[in-house]
């Protein structure tokens, strides 16, 4: 008789004392993250990220972004995510450059030119404001990205479900969170397919502009088709059936998580109150 995949082979390593018991379950069920930050409950990481974002934007001047940046640097080093955050920072570079250029040259009210060359007059005020805004943007995106790259989407959704978000809400959040990596993957494949049919995506700018429609159409139609297929696949597996769903994996929510979460939420509220009362800024 064929052995059930859920029953370990008595002679296998999985059944040996002292070794982790992999019962043939999928990796997303048996996965055990390691390290302090990675093992935090997803809701705790979201609360910390929310505090970081509020601090970056509500604490005036450089204090907020620099303080959060230092925290992020320590956590990123400890959780081995520095490289991923650097890539995300690099992806934001076009936006950073445009912020710098706009503020450097046309910051309203700036009257302290660094130099003048005809109509071109970059200002010190514009330079500092551009740097501050860019830093805020990079720290903000890094704070959100850190929570994202250290939290498997399955864990985030399972935790939300456990907290009573409801299966439709969980589906919406899951689809939104997974949309970006899925779209990136799809765009890569579509670009390969169109380049294989002679579409030039590496030539002059007007040639690249012409490539937008052949790239965009399959992305949009593919996404719509996928939504339809996923919806039917969910329905076929009793997604809307009444009754409570079984959770295959529930992320741990330890006392340290609860303490950290409360601390983060209280600190967040404190920053908001101080800002509104005018005690900072």
């Amino acid at each position: 008789m064929e052995r059930s995949p859920l029953v370990p082979d008595p002679g296998s390593a999985a059944s040996s004392p002292g070794l982790p018991r992999n019962l043939g379950l999928p990796e997303y069920v048996t996965r055990r993250p390691s390290g302090f930050y990675r093992t935090l409950n997803p809701a705790t990481k979201l609360a910390i990220a929310a505090l970081e974002v509020v601090t970056v934007f509500l604490v005036p001047g450089w204090l907020g972004p620099i303080a959060v940046l230092l925290v992020l640097a320590v956590v990123a080093a400890a959780s081995h995510t520095a490289r991923a955050l650097a890539v995300i920072g690099l992806a934001a570079s076009p936006l950073v450059i445009s912020i710098m250029v706009v503020n450097l040259f046309i910051l309203p009210g700036a009257v302290d030119p660094i130099f003048r060359a005809g109509p071109i007059a970059p200002t010190w005020s514009g330079l500092w404001f551009g740097l501050l805004t860019s830093t805020r943007l990079l720290v903000f995106s890094s704070a959100v990205a850190l929570a994202y790259v250290t939290t498997p989407v399955d864990d985030l959704l399972a935790d939300m479900s456990r907290r009573g978000l409801g299966r439709r809400g969980v589906f919406v959040v899951g689809a939104a969170v997974q949309m970006v990596p899925r779209t990136i993957e799809r765009v890569g494949e579509i670009m390969d397919a169109q380049r294989a049919r002679g579409m030039d995506t590496e030539g002059r700018i007007w040639r690249r502009a012409r490539a937008i429609v052949p790239l965009a159409a399959p992305v949009v139609f593919g996404a719509l088709t996928e939504v339809e297929e996923r919806t039917m696949a969910l329905e076929a597996r009793a997604f809307t059936a009444p009754g409570r769903q079984t959770q295959l994996r529930v992320p741990a929510d330890r006392s340290r998580d609860r303490a950290l979460r409360w601390a983060a939420l209280l600190a967040l509220a404190g920053v908001v109150v101080l800002r509104l009362s005018g005690r900072v800024g």
Binding site: E189, I190, D192, A193, A196, R197, D200, P214, P218, F221
Partner: protein, 284 residues
Amino acid sequence: MSAATAARTTAAPTIEFEGVSFAYPDGTQALDGLDLRIEPGETVAIVGQNGSGKSTLVKHLNGLLRPTAGRVLMDGEDVRAVHVARLAARVGLAFQNPDRQLCAGSVKAEIEFGPRNLGIRGAELDERVKAALDAVGLAGEVDTNPYDMGYSRRKLLAIASVLAMLTPILILDEPTTGQDARGVARVGSVVAAAAAAGRTVIAVSHDMRFAAECFGRVVVMRDGSVALDGAPAEVFAEPHWPELRAANLEPPLPAVAGARLGLGSTPTDATLVAALVELAPERG
């Protein structure tokens, strides 16, 4: 297709993979020191288990992927330095998933996309579109929106859109997936017609029967290199079954039947029937 149009298909080059290795950014070693030579006009089926490097291999031919070690040569020229858009004039690749490729609002516009990128216009373009539609049996669908078609017909359309480019090398990635018997036969006839026109045809497939019936050579890949290489009668012969099974492949049914009946290597329906007729001529 007119003789003039057919003549525009330049001669197929010799393809050589010399010690080609390729690793994806996540560290997956997809190709591992692969050596392979494909002569002009050959029909080659590349088979192997999932993750054996089949699709990675063919993407090296049109420069979508560049080897991390080794060289890919076409008529002795290293393709590493050649722009993908230029290689597209020599290598046509129909992707596994048609929905990653189809971008136009009508079947006609979809088929025109590739040839237009190669600079084809006017009567020749019309002729190519008609020939490609005829080849895949979609002649009555000129104005249909591709997204109104079923998966199997979208797949045939994707093949037609590459056929119309008249590249000397034609690559089909999993062309029979989702096709019924008639669709598989249609793809088989596309392969035969392209080969008859002197084009090199390479197909990545999990369909052993299709590989045996429609191709003169079968290359079995395992762990990023070539495990078996030869004519279907050699590759699917009983002594190689352990190697096939090690690559998660099963020999086609006629090969198994022929071996069980002691008829030798009979990888196709035709060879099996011929062997049976020979065995019992009075009933043939």
